[in-house]
Symmetry: C2
Subunit: 325 residues, 2 copies
């Protein structure tokens, strides 16, 4: 293995000078710097992560704790965090909390033992991670008191509701899949805030059985707002199977802009969280905390945007439910 000692011996100088030359600290002449860097290049030298970590107390690695990377919301997030971390010179060690609190604490402990400099946690169910040895940042919902950044799920819900109100819809079905999820609750709440007084609506938490969309449509429902693209997909396909054209008979709005949103016909209108920006702020916060900067970024909220595709359209002008038998 090639180390600084090797380079030092080759050039007849001391390791300290080699280190100084390579890191730019201390006092070294331009000539020696050139000599050292070129020899280092020749030998294919790069500093030992372990040696540096031991001395400096920094590993250059951040831990990322996610509930379940197979759930399609998280990969985009992971990607964003990885990209941002790389820009700041950090690597990303992943850990799986398996959507449980015990799993979460276990994952955090493991990461600390592996020597990470900081931890990013996506807590589920509003659990507050208990970390004392290293700085950490959480991305939770805006309503969560202890978060570093939050996606504005409520505002996302508002966006969805506004868009369909603008298209003339006045009778909504709001679909969620998990009434205990703070994220979903916030999204639904945002929708309700906008719809209250302006339209009729019904909230439905689907677990096993899916609501009878034909029935709902006959009752006047022309728009479905969901808390996830997966639910939207289910709604669209259930609707079309029963002869309800989307968006002609019924509009459907998704959430999260998953890869499937553009793979399905009609393509899904959806609400997009800015995962890149969330990742950017999380990493920036941790970076500052790790470098012990005097002032740290304060908790902030990132708004969502809307992308209108084929699954939403204006409310039918003539007869509201053309499929009535």
């Amino acid at each position: 293995m090639i180390n600084q000692k090797q380079i030092a011996n080759d050039l007849g100088i001391s390791v300290a000078t080699v280190s100084n030359a390579l890191t730019g600290k201390g006092r070294v002449s331009e000539d020696v710097i050139r000599l050292v860097t070129s020899r280092a290049e020749e030998l294919g030298y790069f500093p030992s992560a372990a040696g540096r970590a031991l001395k400096t107390g920094r590993s250059g690695i951040l831990g990322l704790v996610m509930p379940d990377i197979t759930k399609p919301v998280f990969p985009k997030f992971a990607e964003g965090v990885e990209a941002e971390a790389e820009k700041c010179g950090f690597g990303i060690l992943i850990a799986n909390s398996r959507s449980t609190e015990e799993g979460q604490t276990k994952a955090i402990k493991q990461l600390i033992q592996r020597g990470v400099d900081g931890i990013i946690v996506l807590p589920q169910r509003r659990t507050a991670p208990n970390i004392n040895r290293v700085p950490y940042a959480t991305a939770s919902t805006a309503s969560d008191p202890n978060n570093t950044v939050a996606a504005n799920h409520t505002q996302g819900g508002q966006l969805a509701a506004h868009a369909l109100l603008d298209l003339g819809h006045r009778n909504f079905l709001l679909l969620g899949s998990d009434a205990l999820s703070p994220v979903q609750k916030d999204r639904i709440e945002g929708m309700i805030e906008v719809l209250n007084g302006a339209a009729q609506y019904e909230v439905c938490w689907v677990s096993e059985s899916f609501p009878d969309l034909v029935q709902k449509n006959q009752d006047g429902v022309t728009a479905i707002l969901t808390t996830s693209d997966l639910l939207a997909l289910r709604a669209v396909t259930e609707a079309e199977r029963s002869g309800l054209k989307c968006p002609e008979a019924i509009s459907v709005m998704g959430f999260d802009d998953l890869p499937l949103a553009t793979a399905v016909r009609p393509t899904l209108s959806t609400i997009v969280p800015d995962t890149t920006e969330l990742a950017r702020r999380l990493v920036a916060y941790l970076d500052a905390a790790i470098r012990q900067e005097p002032t740290l970024p304060t908790p902030s909220i990132v708004d969502m945007t809307i992308v209108l595709r084929e699954s939403t359209g204006p409310v039918a002008t003539q007869f509201p439910n053309p499929t009535r038998r």
Copy 2:
């Protein structure tokens, strides 16, 4: 920070004894072992990753290079690798090759600089990673000469074709999205092997424009085999939109068993790669290589399984295409 020196001082013994007591090496009396472990427990001690790594030359971390974690095939894989690695005491450092060869070599270099003990690469486009400092394992297609394990994509394709032949279908449309992908080529090839002589088929690589399914159906096609659940989803929804019921008028088979497969109606029949087993073998190989075991596992191939859901059914008995206008 709590270290072995602390424990040693507390108990009036030497650090070497502490180390020996904790690792079970050397010669230490049972009494001292008990003393040391209990004191370590009290203080909440755990070994410094950096210190240990520096001395032993092992970081206990594996690198995972994937083309693009936002593509829905990869998260399941990452999950499997993480779980298996954890069982062997390894952590997983992720790196993004951005689906390019330069990105791949850059990612590998970064991982090595961070001191990983081994690297798992999911190479795309049959690129052979050039790694010399640490052992590595690749998961490629069976037709790729330099792989550690491979999912049997060809056999997966055969499975798909067989299943629909058994259901009575005799006229197939094979859909792929990327004719350059070795994985997709292998899958299609497997299908063709089985269909040759037994049925009529047409291969179609879709990029922007999707084939006219009504037209195809009128031409006699009753089954669509795809190389991905995303394509299958597209096919199902395109079909149902044009009035072709799935599976009554046309059967659709997916690939990979993505989360969306059960979120759509009809639920997608699909071919499932055993990512857990793939991950297990990759990690096992690396573990053996890192421990310098004399004999390493030889390259092997993991078969796929089929799961039949709602999107496939028996070929229509009476009139093959009931939607003819």
